[in-house]
């Protein structure tokens, strides 16, 4: 089974800071890490490989330093990493990103399963997974929190989380899944994996390697643009309700009514 996992490097949420003047993230001095949901996608891919055999290839689009993320993925059990890096990819929105990733997955064909994290924690769009599946012409299931193969090794049984519970769905491969953090606990990397990753050479694919249409990638292929960003102000009020439990409950009901919530 050939599994492709698409990942993204994001600023480490633990160290991230905001420039309130400019309304942007401060990226200087902030470590880039693999998007947390993507770690779950890698783990899901590696577990499937361990259970059913096959090969896990991790793909990311990004600057040359994104090689680090791919090496980390190798240390976590992936077999190969491919970096899509080209100045022409810069400024891509989700539409251009899905095009670029689709070109890479097509180049890796035949692929049985594509895994993505539910969303990246920087952009938070959750569009790339589904967009990529549409480009590839394969079915997709989002928000997967559990998966197993049927006896035929062709049908995946999936638990898809939704607001009021979960659905059990089946999908035939080839397919694309986006996964939630609850699907598994990503393993810690292994020392042997890290040593292997250190020596590994990560191939870099350019726009021309992919045979990409330059009008579809990077800024040129991106109809959406971020016009402005701002740091939200937190203006939450805090009020301590006093009195007996009954009095506090009455006071709380009053407040909720005043706020139009009840």
């Amino acid at each position: 089974m050939k599994i492709v996992v698409c990942i993204k490097q994001v600023p480490d949420a633990k160290t991230v800071r905001f420039d309130t003047e400019k309304g942007t993230l401060v990226r200087e001095g902030v470590e880039a890490v693999i998007n947390p949901f993507d770690l779950n996608a890698i783990e899901a891919g590696v577990q499937l490989k361990e259970r059913h055999g096959g090969e896990v290839t991790v793909v990311t689009m990004g600057p040359p330093q994104a090689e680090e993320a791919l090496k980390e993925a190798l240390a976590l059990g992936a077999d190969n990493g491919i970096l899509l890096s080209d100045r022409a990819f810069a400024g891509a929105d989700t539409l251009a990103t899905t095009y670029t990733l689709a070109k890479a997955v097509e180049r890796l064909a035949p692929v049985d399963l594509v895994l993505c994290g539910k969303q990246a924690i920087d952009g938070d769009t959750a569009q790339v997974g589904p967009g990529l599946a549409v480009r590839l012409g394969i079915p997709y299931v989002t928000c997967v929190s559990g998966l197993s193969f049927g006896d035929d090794q062709k049908t995946l049984r999936l638990k898809r989380s939704c607001e009021e519970g979960y659905d059990m769905v089946e999908v035939e491969i080839p397919a694309l899944l986006t996964v939630l953090a609850t699907i598994n606990t990503p393993r810690v990397p292994s020392l042997k994996g890290k040593l292997r990753a250190k020596k590994a050479r990560i191939p870099i694919w350019s726009a021309d390697d992919l045979g990409a249409d330059h009008g579809m990638i990077g800024l040129a292929g991106s109809p959406t643009q971020v016009v402005s960003t701002s740091v939200p102000k937190f203006e939450a009020k805090r009020e301590m309700l006093q009195g007996t439990p009954e009095e506090q409950v009455d006071a709380l009901l009053d407040r909720l009514e005043e706020a139009g919530i009840l």
Binding site: R187, V188, P189, S190, L191, K192, G193, K194, L195, K198
Partner: protein, 387 residues
């Protein structure tokens, strides 16, 4: 902030980073709970196995990573930053594994080391008995030859990972009248006939680690489970302890560093008399002594470990120094950390009281610090006699 440059190789730095990651992600979030419930940390052992840590000191040909005493020290220092009990469980497997690595026949190594390196089987080291602690020559457990078997009888006490480990290296008397030269080392496996476990001890600290009696009651094991030669038991035990002691020093360094980090952070946040208490010299001087002693311990432990890995054979004194100095420092540092946190430090809501309880065992196990001083003193006596 400048850190002391210990000139770690890229691989060694990798070990540090990975074990620190395990400490922060897998150990610290559960350490208080494990301490409370005394639950054996199987989940964390599985994570460590997955990360290849059990193979650190084992040669490549048996599935290990070919590291030495230094690599082992780097790993346990960071793990102990998270929890000494969990780290002791990990380190005990190396303590039990060293005799097989150092003195095992090729067949024994091939049979046991790959599973140990992969973390599939934990190992325990069985030397101590109720009447044989610092005076290891008081061992009463006996092993008698019976055809193609050895028959072991006796009780081992306070054995780390007892009951949880699959493989046990056990020291027993084969020729009582020969004294120390009458001891031999054996490999006993969980499930061997006549081998069972006594009660699980309840301890002041080190609570997530399992400490039990090993009961050998006409325990019959095949002849080829003898390690090394008959009569080599004490040599095997001493060589094993010499190699393992810098690791205890490293555990002490990791623990003390964790206590210092807690103390400094608290001292910066705690306001009394309208200022953070770190602005008081009384606190600053305590913190300064703690930090200095930790760095001195680390430097000593690393230097001794590297000396061992360079092939030096006469390591008893150096190894005792590394264990002695670093563990005494850890006891002092953790006690002072509790003092700096004051009433909060004494409460179980903060981690330093556990650190202080855990520190105490480091001065006791793998040879009390009094025994370490004996080893150092006797070595000095010998050294100066030669001159």
């Amino acid at each position: 902030m400048a850190k002391v440059n210990y000139f770690l190789s890229e691989e060694q730095q990798m070990i540090v980073d990975l074990t620190r990651q395990i400490a922060e992600e897998k150990i610290i979030p559960v350490r208080a709970e494990l301490d409370k419930t005394e639950e054996f940390p199987w989940d964390i052992m599985k994570d460590m196995a997955q990360a290849d840590l059990f193979g650190l000191y084992i040669p490549d040909e048996y599935g290990g990573l070919d590291g030495g005493c230094f690599e082992n020290c780097l790993a346990v220092e960071q793990l102990a930053y998270g929890c000494v009990a969990v780290t002791t469980t990990f380190a005990a497997s190396a303590l039990g594994g060293y005799p097989i690595l150092l003195f095992g026949s090729e067949d024994q190594r091939k049979q046991y080391l790959p599973d140990i390196a992969a973390g599939k089987k934990l190992v325990a080291f069985g030397l101590t008995e109720s009447n044989a602690g610092s005076d290891a020559a008081g061992i009463q457990t006996s092993a008698v030859e019976d055809g193609d078997y050895w028959v072991l009888n006796g009780t081992k006490q306070w054995i780390t990972s007892g009951g949880e480990a699959e493989i046990y290296t056990i020291i027993a008397m084969t020729d009582k009248h020969k004294g120390p030269r009458g001891a031999s080392a054996f490999i006993v496996e969980k499930g061997d006939p006549g081998f069972s476990f006594g009660k699980k001890e309840r301890k002041m600290g080190l609570r997530a680690s399992s400490t039990r009696e090993l009961l050998l009651n006409d325990c019959r094991i095949p002849k080829e489970r003898l390690l090394g030669r008959r009569g080599l038991g004490f040599i095997i035990a001493l060589k094993t302890l010499d190699l393992a002691r810098p690791g205890i020093g490293a555990i002490a360094v990791g623990l003390a560093q964790a206590a210092l980090d807690q103390a400094v952070r608290y001292a910066k946040e705690r306001i009394q008399f309208d200022q953070p208490i770190i602005s008081f010299q009384a606190i600053q001087h305590m913190l300064a002594d703690m930090a200095t002693e930790i760095e001195a311990s680390r430097a000593l432990v690393y230097s001794v470990a590297r000396t061992i890995d360079s092939g030096e054979k006469d390591i008893a004194k150096l190894s005792a120094m590394a264990k002695l100095y670093a563990t005494d420092a850890a006891m002092k540092v953790t006690t002072d950390a509790v003092q700096i946190l004051g009433g909060y430090g004494y409460m179980q809501d903060y981690p330093v009281e556990k650190m202080m309880r855990d520190a105490k065992i480091l001065q006791i196990y793998e040879g009390t610090n009094q025994i370490q001083r004996n080893v150092i003193g006797q070595a000095l006596n010998k050294e100066y006699a030669k001159k």
